[in-house]
Structure formats: C-alpha cells, structure tokens
C-alpha cells in the first residue's frame, strides 16, 4: 500500500515514503530527517541529496505553524469538481513548509496571512485520506 488513497485524486502510488500514509492513518503528519546530516524534508524524502544517505527517520510536524499565503480555488482540475470551492494554503512549521487545504470551517474572510495553524490528518469520502490546516 502506498499513496493510492491520498488526497482527492492520486496520480501515482508506489514510494519508499509509503510509511507516511500509515502514520497519517495513525493520526500523525510526519516529515523525514537524515540521520547522518540532520537535514529535514517536506515533502518527505526517502533519500538525502545532501549526503547521499538513505538512512532517514520520521518526525512529527507537531506544534503551531504560520500561514504564509492562501487562495480560494473556484475552478479545480478534472476530478476535483465536487470539492470546489476549496482554500489552498502554504503553512510554515518548525523547519518545514507544507501545502494543504484549510479546514472547511474556516471562512475566507477570517483568514489572515501570518495566522497560527496546526496540521492534522483528515478523512475524505471513499476511504481517502489527506491532511489539512486548522486554526492553531
């Protein structure tokens, strides 16, 4: 099992980082860190291009982050028609940045660049799973 049920539409499944999904199902959004040089990665990398090691460990993106920017998307790609409108955002956490959607209970008028966020797993219809930002 890999990324076949990740997000609204997934495009490819196999990955060495497939444990990300297991962790997500267990309630955690995780990034990778190279055990050799300490570089951290999100999107998670199974391999460290800096020291060419593949000995990486998972760590949880816990704690509060900050909203860097957002947009309310009224026209989505094919396969996303039922989701529109949705709000995409870029969040900055300790050492990593993440692109995800904002939780549907946040209205566009209440969003401010710089506002506090947390990231957590979210169940989607048809047994799919992703993560989203909530107010932190």
């Amino acid at each position: 099992m890999g990324f076949e049920n990740f997000g609204t539409v997934s495009f490819t499944a196999e990955a060495k980082t497939a444990d990300f999904i297991k962790n997500l199902e267990a309630g955690k959004v995780m990034a990778t860190r190279c055990k050799k040089c300490g570089n951290s990665y999100f999107p998670p990398k199974a391999d460290c291009p800096s020291c060419l090691s593949s000995d990486v460990e998972w760590f949880e993106v816990a704690g509060k982050g900050k909203l860097r920017s957002y947009t309310k998307v009224n026209y989505g790609p094919t396969g996303f028609e039922a989701d529109t409108p949705y709000i995409l955002a870029l969040g900055e956490f300790d050492g990593v940045q993440i692109l995800a959607r904002l939780s549907r209970d946040i209205e566009e008028k209440d969003i401010k660049v710089g506002m506090s966020l947390i990231v957590s797993p979210v169940k989607l219809p048809d047994n799919r799973i992703a993560y989203e930002f909530k107010k932190g």
Partner: protein
Amino acid sequence: MAEVAIVGAGQTAFSRQCGVNIRELCFEAFKEAMEGLDITSQDIDASIICSAPEYDKQRSPAGLISEYLDLTPKPSFYVETVCSSSSTGLRVAWSLITAGLHKAVAVIGFQKMSELSSREAAERMGRGGDIIWESPFGLTMPAGYAMYARAHMAKYGTTEEQLAKVRVKNSHYGAANPKATYRKELGLEDILNSEVITSPLKKFDCCANADGASCIIVARGDVAKGACAIPIWIIGLGAATDTMSMAGRESLTGLRCAQEAARQAYKMAGIGPQDIDVAEVHDCFTISEILAYEDLGFAKPGEGAGLIEDKQTYADGKKPVNVDGGLLSKGHPIGATGGSQIRTIVRQLRREATEAQVKGAKIGLVHNIGGIGQYGNVTILRR
C-alpha cells in the same frame, strides 16, 4: 567565444482555435522567420523543437516538424521547460553554435491547445505540480500564482486594482497587435468585476490557452552578417530552476528562478537593469508582471506596483514592458510563447514594431518563466 545572433523571427497569429495542424502551424512561423533572409532552409543545420508534450497528440513531434519543413537529415530534437520551452531552445541553439557544432539553428516552438477537450486540458492542469505531494490537493497553476499575489499583497500592500492596471496596459497594446488572440481594450472596472477564478485572481488577471507557433533563426556571427541586414546579438543568457513543490519555496513575493536567471544574464552581458530599453516579461497572470519588475531589478522588492501605477512600463515610460500586449492579450500557446516574446524584442530592436515602437531601442530583455516559477530564462539582446 564566437558571437551569435538572431537573424529571423516569426510567429503565427495566436488564437483560441487555429483550424490547422501542428506542422502547418510551424510552417507559418518558419516562413515568417525565413522571409527576406539571404540564407535558405538548406543552410539551417539543426532544429530544436519546443513544446509541452502533455498537450501533444503526436508523439515525438520533432521528426514530424523536421520532415514538413524539409530540414532532414539535419539533427532535430525536442526540449521542454513548459511555458519557457522556446527560451530554453534559444539557450541550447546558442550553445550548439558557440561550441562549433552548427552554424545556423532553427528554434521552433508550438502548441495546439485546442486539440484537447476542456476536460482533458483541466486534467493536465491538475498535474502541473508535484503529483504525489501537492496535486492531490487540487493545486493548479493559477492557484500557485494566486498565492504569490496574496503574499505580495500582504507584505507590500499591493492591491487588486494595481494588478488590474497591468491588464489595462497590456490590453491597450494587445488591441494593436494583429497576432494577438484578444484585441479588445479593457477598462479597470471590466477587470475588477470579472469572475474570481482563484482569489485574488479574476478572469482578466489570467492569460488564456491558445494555439500558435513561433520560430527564431539563430546563426554564428559571420553567417548572421551575411544573412540579414540587422543581426540581433544574443549578449546575455541566464537560466535557473526552482523547486517543483510550493512547499520548497523560500520566498512567495518573488520568483527565485527569475532572480537567478536575471543575475546571470546581466553578468554575461556586462550591463544592469538600467540599460534595458524594452522588455518582454512572462505575464501569465497580472501578478507575474509585477513580480517580474522586481525580479529583474526594474523596481526594488515591494515597489513593482508603483511602476504600473505611474505608467512607467507604457511604451513612452521609463521602462516599457510588454508593449505587444503580453501573454494576457496574445494568449499563451505554451511552447510558442518564448519565441513570440523574442520576436517582439527583435522587431523592437530593428525598429519594425510599428504598433508600439519604443524610440531608439537598442537593448532588449526577454523574461520567460515555466510552470509556477519552476523554470526561469532571461535573455538579453542587442541591436
């Protein structure tokens, strides 16, 4: 190092539906580029074909185009950096000539986007980002640029009205460009009242898909001097790549790929932004043009909106930009766009841009970006 020049530049009209096939499109651009030259297709010793393959029906179009233009058995191959493909093609042509492998190279860019249904096009649009980590959330190219717009507004106070003023300018010049898809002048209210596509970007903040082709003929200095009356010299080339993912971006108020490409191009040319007489920048969205002003050093970071506010980027302003209407008016046939921008600068430097000639233009710049700032090319040309 051998000197390299552009001797010919052509393009088709850009349109929503061209009604011909890709080889016929390319012929039209090639013909315009070759017209009046003292060299023939026999003298072209390589061709570089530029497009975004996900929009092509034909697999490996280089062979097809090469055959139709009777460029066989000279080498032909394909290059791709999405919307920046034909500027990458120009870079490769320069390198092949400088290396001594070829004397004259045709750089042909095309896209026939109407070949896909709108559903197919929307499917392609959904795969423009990192397909494992970001596309599953519904990231699109407009959404990526919208996040740059929002961040610029939050940090510097740039307004939606200032974004709209970019379109007002570009629609003004587009109206005079016979090759443009959209030739209607738009007022501020038309733009501000158009439908929101992905906030804060509205319909008229966005360029449209189009069909079209462009062709640039590049030659070694001695060949160029014999081939045309006014060779346009390639004096600066810069190229850079930024992360595929939005999560990897250090800044959301400027494009790192453009800043880095500009730095390289200015350095190679031995000049600075103050020396540029006329520029073509990649205005796939209104915000993109304001980011370009800053990334190219025409304005300080955060002060880009002031340039359009003060009309400094009109043809009679201090730094004329996109006085052919830009992508916003011309439309954006992905692989053809860079070549069209280069053609405009060639015409400006040859003083042939009758629609909106910048007086005495001697040095011009082309800024051509691929994707949501993944690929950046900056090219500096001199009369």
